[in-house]
């Protein structure tokens, strides 16, 4: 009986390994999202600047936009934020998806750090985040003028990610539109 107890750690580790192995297949940062090539999920959610105003997926139409999932509780978003400010300054339209956050804190954040967003969708319950398959913040989606998701980035968008992976696709999508 006592000897059997000695096997417990081994069994626990074996189960853990199975999850890790499965988790590798699902690697969120390396696999393209199932949503790439699909239309942006439909939603009706309030705007951060004005909670009387209701936004929907139609507000994304007719231009190429970045949809950036962020929150004030998200540590990596602090690092990403200056890059978003820079992109916005270059004239790129960024839509914020304020994910599971407090409105007041989010407004305060934008006041302090600058506001790179054209507008912000308030997703306090995480329902749109769920439809998008958000694994955590930050995440960034590139959505074309027809409202189709063309690219997904899990984690921080920095200068390198932008230059290597996103910039040329963005230009191409803008080109398609014209």
């Amino acid at each position: 009986m006592n000897r059997i107890a000695l096997f417990v750690p081994l069994v626990v580790f074996a189960i853990l390994s199975l999850f890790l192995l499965k988790g590798l297949d699902r690697d969120p940062t390396e696999l393209p999202s199932a949503l790439v090539g699909e239309p942006f999920p439909s939603f009706t959610l309030p705007s951060l600047a004005n909670d009387q105003e209701i936004l929907s997926e139609r507000d994304l139409d007719s231009q190429v936009v970045l949809v950036n999932v962020w929150a004030t509780w998200c540590f990596a978003c602090r690092i990403e934020h200056p890059m978003l400010n820079q992109l916005a300054a270059e004239g790129i339209a960024i839509i914020g998806l304020n994910y599971k956050d407090q409105d007041q804190q989010a407004i305060q954040w934008l006041k302090q750090k600058g506001n790179p967003y054209v507008f912000n969708i308030v997703d306090a319950q995480g329902s749109l985040g769920f439809d998008l398959g958000v694994t955590g913040a930050p995440e960034t989606y590139l959505v074309d003028a027809q409202g189709i998701i063309r690219y997904r980035r899990v984690g921080v968008v920095d200068q390198r990610v932008w230059d290597d992976e996103m910039s040329s696709l963005y230009q191409q999508l803008v080109g398609e539109m014209e």
Partner: protein, 653 residues
């Protein structure tokens, strides 16, 4: 040419490690003492070649050899030389090479300082360490070669080191952390050697104790440095984020702490033997698991600067072999757990058991919190992220329990303690703690606001320090000269526990009394926070070696007396185009004034974050005391004396 030399040296080191893993082990079974003795020469050779390899990579960085992919990605001609050196371990490949170098270093240290151990045991320990080296050398050569060339299209200029990493804290943080992670390979190897040989006596525990302490000291320093770096470099005043990578370093630390305590019971009383072995295996396994989590990109984290699923598969195989193999060995050969009725109620054994239960529970809940998003994803339960509220919910009560237990434990003795004795010692510290915890918050409320958290924090700190003081007075009276008579391990323990109390004080009071205001300020504007007046006089452009910056000037005064002039910066790095916030801090033991510069606003105004953080420095002060305490205990006289006696015995034979 130099890069090829480094690559070649690494291949030779792999060969050395392979021999080291096989020859002494086979020798130990066959009884060939010459084979067993070969272990220490091989470990010397291995260190030599890994060091050459590491040196070659460092030279490539100093020479700006951008034909190397790794150098071109993480360096730049404008980067100052000391950052070129630290850039060697700024990313995955170089970190692993540093890891291999440190492992070779620990291995040689074991070979040199274990001459008094039985030859069979030393041979097996070195073999196990050699086998781990094989794994890392293969990992480097097969998936993460830092000497990969970008020929014939070598770039003229490098992409530059991530500015977050251009900092003194980041020069020393990773090596310290790795010293700790890799250091746990030594007790791990001791445990495996003991399992193979079937010898788990108290001599085994005594031999492994200084190694456990040393590895743990390095890990403590490494984590402390990481937290300190995050505090001043990330620019918003936080010092712990429950990020997966931080959790990955905290888990082996918690288990290592449990191991330090349980091995003392194994040494002194011969109890908890299988538990100690298991903890030794866990501590190193969690270090490896941490590496896996960081390097595979399986979890999203700010620290995952480079991740790659192919490496993940290799690491997982390596984990399966090392952890699965050692747990299998443990299951087959571990000492059967027995009910030992040799201790009772208030004994030190029971208190150490409580310590272990709390520490391992803390580790388990962090492991669950870290892996839960992954498990939920695999089980199709939806995408879930676990945040600080979860961790704080469990960690805070566990820490409170731990602190109370540490205070009682100091009065207990091995085997059993009369409850009358303990009950007679508890009232004074308890009363003191209740009075301080009940009164001081009202006094502090005049400066800050009233806080129950602060009361609880002060209660815990006073309780811990008062129990330690009471025990010291018991031992030596009030004659401070007699401190010299106390053993290093006793002093180390008391210092480390005092450090814990100080650290708790820092954590509790800085969260209770923290005052933060985020403001729009135009030149000439004033703001008042916690009695300090902040005067913003404007922003000037300044130039650094590889960045340009906006620098704000803020004068802080209290009662019209100048406290400090602070110069927070917003830096723009030329090569990568990244923007970094450089906070300005006026430090003191009782409070930090922390100012960081936000975005420029209209009409010359800027967004500013002004913070007053009472007692925040105690967090790191306490942690440093904890580390020094561990170091003191590791250098206790009896570890050295024992060796001398054995050396003498050998001569006599």
């Amino acid at each position: 040419m130099i890069a090829e030399l480094g690559h070649f040296a690494l291949i030779i080191a792999l060969g050395m490690a392979l021999l080291q893993s096989l020859v002494p082990m086979i020798g130990s079974f066959k009884g060939y003492s010459s084979w067993m003795r070969l272990g220490s020469s091989l470990s010397m050779g291995q260190l030599f070649f890994v060091a050459i390899s590491f040196g070659c990579l460092a030279i490539a960085f100093l020479n700006d050899d951008f034909s190397l992919k790794y150098v071109s990605q993480h360096s730049n001609t404008a980067l100052p030389d000391h950052y070129k050196i630290s850039a060697v371990w700024a990313a995955h490949e170089g970190s692993l090479l540093l890891w291999a170098l440190i492992l070779a270093g620990w291995t040689l240290a074991v070979a040199l300082f274990s001459r008094s151990l039985p030859l069979v045991l030393t041979a097996r320990i070195l073999s196990v360490l050699g086998a781990i080296s094989v794994g890392f050398a293969l990992f480097l050569l097969l998936t993460s070669n830092p000497f990969e060339r970008l020929l014939p299209m070598a770039p003229m200029e490098g992409a530059d080191l991530n500015p977050l990493l251009q900092d003194i804290g980041l020069i020393i943080h990773p090596p310290m952390l790795y010293m700790g992670y890799v250091g746990f390979a030594v007790p791990f190897a001791f445990a495996i050697a003991a399992l193979i040989g079937g010898q788990f006596d108290s001599a085994w525990a005594r031999w492994s104790r200084p190694w456990i302490n040393l590895a743990w000291v390095f890990l403590t320093i490494g984590i402390t440095l990481g937290s300190w770096w995050a505090y001043y470099e990330l620019g918003w005043g936080g010092w712990w984020f429950w990020d997966p990578v931080e959790n990955a370093s905290l888990m082996p630390w918690l288990v290592g702490t449990a191991l330090m305590h349980s091995v003392s019971a194994t040494e002194k009383r011969g109890v908890f033997r299988s538990w100690t072995l298991l903890l030794a295996i866990f501590a190193f396994s969690l270090s490896l698991l941490g590496t896996f989590l960081v390097r595979s990109g399986i979890l999203t984290s700010v620290h995952a600067f480079a991740s790659d699923p192919e490496r993940g598969v290799f690491m997982l195989m390596f984990l399966a072999i090392v952890i699965g193999g050692s747990l299998m060995l443990f299951a087959l050969r571990g000492p059967a757990m027995r009910k030992v009725a040799a201790y009772s109620g208030w004994s030190r054994e029971v208190m150490l058991l409580i310590n272990n239960v709390i520490l391992v529970s803390s580790m388990t809940m962090i492991l669950i919190g870290t892996l839960y998003p992954l498990v939920a994803d695999v089980l199709e339960l939806g995408k879930i992220s676990v945040g600080p509220p979860y961790f704080n919910f469990f960690f805070v009560p566990l820490t409170v329990g731990l602190v109370i237990a540490v205070g009682i434990a100091v009065f207990t003795q091995w085997k059993s303690t009369e409850s009358r004795l303990i009950l007679s010692k508890i009232p004074v510290p308890l009363l003191l703690a209740i009075i301080c915890g009940g009164v001081l918050p009202f006094y502090l409320a005049t400066e800050y606001s009233f806080s129950i958290t602060a009361g609880l924090t002060i209660f815990m700190t006073v309780w811990l320090i008062a129990t330690i003081a009471a025990d010291l007075i018991d031992k030596i009276g009030i004659d401070l000269k007699r401190v010299a008579k106390l053993s290093y391990s006793y002093l180390g323990m008391q210092l480390a526990h005092t450090g814990l109390a100080i650290c708790v004080l820092g954590v509790g009071l800085s969260s209770a009394y923290d005052q933060t205001r985020e403001l729009r300020m135009a030149p000439g504007d004033n703001a008042m926070i916690a009695g300090y007046e902040f005067n913003f006089s404007g922003v000037n452009p300044v130039d650094g070696p590889n960045f340009t910056a906006f620098q704000a000037q803020i004068a802080v005064t209290k009662n019209n007396q100048l406290v400090a002039n602070l110069f927070p910066e917003k830096r723009h790095y030329n090569a990568g185009g990244q923007v970094m916030t450089e906070a300005a801090i006026d430090p003191s033991l009782i409070r930090d004034i922390y100012v960081s510069l936000g975005e420029p606003l209209a009409n010359g105004a800027w967004a500013l974050s002004l913070q007053v953080k009472p007692f925040v420095r105690c967090i790191w002060l306490g942690a440093v005391m904890v580390a020094i305490g561990g170091l003191l205990a590791a250098t206790d006289r009896r570890y050295r004396r024992r060796k001398k006696i054995q050396a003498n015995n050998k001569v006599a034979l």
